[in-house]
Amino acid sequence: MTPPLLDIQRLSVDFATRRGTVRAIDSISLSVAKGETLGIVGESGSGKSVTSYAVMNILDRAGKIAGGKISYGGMSMHKISERDMRDIRGREISMIFQNPRAALNPIRKVGQQIADVLVQHNQATRATGRAKAIEMLLAVKIKDAEKRYEAYPFELSGGMCQRVVIAMALACKPQLLIADEPTTGLDVTTQKAVMDLITELTAKFNMSTILITHDLGLAAAYCDRLLVMEKGHVVEQNTSEALFNSPQKAYTKQLLNATPHRDSYVRDLLTPEQQAQALALPASTEPGAALLSVKSLKKEFGKPGSGHHHVAVRDLSFDIRKGESLGLVGESGCGKSTTSSMIMRLLDTTEGSIEFLGQDIAAIPAKQFARHALRGKLQMVFQDPTDSLNPRWSAERSIVDPLLRLSPDMPAADRQARVLELASLVGLPVELLNRFPHQLSGGQKARVGIARAVAMEPELLILDEPTAALDVSVQAVVLNLLEDLKHRLGMSYLFISHDLNVVRLLCDRIIVMQHGEIVEQGHAHEIMDTPKTDYTRSLLAAIPHPPAADASITGNTELQDGAL
């Protein structure tokens, strides 16, 4: 048997913090064979990125390798001098990072940045650097490569920047590529293009790859072997198919369950213990009369004819009926957030009407809507739970704010009682009410945000990517909480997201948007199973497809479905 390309034995990394030394990864072992693709999967804080930094020896000042061995092609990496390490980086092992725009030098032409790497590793001279860099740009399928050589990162899209970063990483044909969340923050279709490109090129050059990601589905779709990490430990590793279809460890199972896939139900995301406690969902109810009716909604920014003119939403019409959940799906820049801001009356419309509970609220300027009688009936849960809480206010103060402003006549005692009621409704322990946002976890902050949104018993709640910033296991719990609340409080939802799999879990009907217009709308299962437009089909195709789920998983789902 040939020795593995990269072999890590009992590696530990410590970080010096003000509270003393913290062990970020604890005695982990893994190996990558020549030509193999390994996926390292874990939630935030699992130590998955630290592992790769340790391999590259680019830990920041506070971090240091506390023990263990890293050997690459027979060399002991942890003993190598910085000078030799520099020759290995980029030539033998390369890395690509998340947030590609920030990963490029903002004031240097992208072509030069690729040429820098080539020249550094003697793959080109200053004279031939340009030609070779353009060759690499062509290899990563950038059109007009001659011209793009001269571009600065700010002139390129996020997906294009990631291609440039890949070109830099692969310029010297390294043996091993480490991709650290390479597609986080990119749209699904861009994600697919970038991942396909990486797969194609690494196969072409017969390279090994380590893909680090929080997305189990993505890792399973693109990797030969998977390794699951939790809190600095390796939980389980196996071939993708085996791990995906017959996970051995509880944590892996939980993670697998919590990851939404095409045919899971919202309750499936929970652990069996959580499911046991969850209340039974009523059979699907027929939605009532129209609650919100949007007609020919339009939003323009800037003056027509000026350089800044931009139509964000053009001619949008749809209804939401009482008790219904409507999903609004589209990629970044499609106008879905602008639409939600207009309905929420945070943004004035350019044209069109928004009829809510029989009243055209589009006619009321956004600035005056704060004191409108319908304000409390129209509420929102925001994307980033951290950003959506006032950092100087306790959870209690945040929850009580709408009560103070919108029902000022409420006696203080009733208000207190209401806050406690809301806390128990969203499952927030009472003792956390006096904590400040920085003392709460992501899931707890999300609960505070939800409690605040439902405080005035709204009729319509807009969910703007409410779980995008959360780990999957927390996402599972929050989605279930939202589903419960909808039935308990009789609310209607407008769920905005880029992720069809997540939207499908809560929504009866889905609208797909592109360039400020509706591309397609229909029942969730119609959209998912028999999409009518190419755009919807491309969105669906871009969702990573893990190795064919076998009967055990599907059967399992049906069983649970019956149990509920």
Partner: protein, 297 residues
Amino acid sequence: MSNLAITPSTAPRAQTREGYWHHLRYIMAENPLTGISFGLFFGLIAVAIFGPYLVPFDPVATGVGPALQPPGVSHWFGTDHLGRDVFSRVVVATRLDLLISVSAVTLSFVFGSIIGCFAGYFGGWTDRISGRLMDTIMAFPLFVLAMGIVAAAGNSIENIVYATAIINLPFYARMARAEVSIRRNAGFVQAARLSGNSELRVLFGHIFPNTLPPMMVQISLNMGWAILNAAGLSFIGLGVQPPMPEWGILVAEGANFIISGEWWLVVFPGMALMLAVFTFNLIGDGLRDLVDPQRRT
């Protein structure tokens, strides 16, 4: 039910405060200079308040000792050319110097943050007009503008305060504007609008309090600069008139004697001035650490 809410609320709040003290202690331990600077700060305040009652000699009385006496037992900081006690003059000057800079900084903080808040929150013409105004002030070398203002408006202590306040105004206005505009569409601000807060309440109830920590740092660093400016103006003969003791003017009076070697006339008021500025700068750096450990520079 309402009692229930109050009982558990005290414990976590104490924890929070403890967390704060823990953080404070950490900062102090990591950078002992910050601890020293807070000590110096309270020392300065004490001298400003009680100094005039404690000094051994009348600071303006001439001939309390022989002229140009070097520092010694009876006159700790020596005497000047008129036989006045330098120690008494330096101590008594503290109050005036602090008073000038505190009033100036307060004025610029209040007006600057109001202007900046409105400009940052509402944008549009409010922003354009205030921006143009601040740009015009900043188009002058600030100390030179202060000279021009005092020269034109009249040579008095109040005008020194106004001039110093005007030249500091743009710092606060720009900072408040920047801090407000990055939060203008933050999630918690949108949420506040949805909770039925009026625009003004969103601005002053939600956004402004969150801009205070960086503003405090600015205030502290600015205090030192305000003291330097005021002293500089009186050094060139503006504002404070002799024989009133003030650090800048004391140094100016002593300057004539430095080339003949009577160093104490310059060194003691100069050191006092330096110490005061140093204290505020250190506090500013310390506050910066306290407010945001990441932004340490």
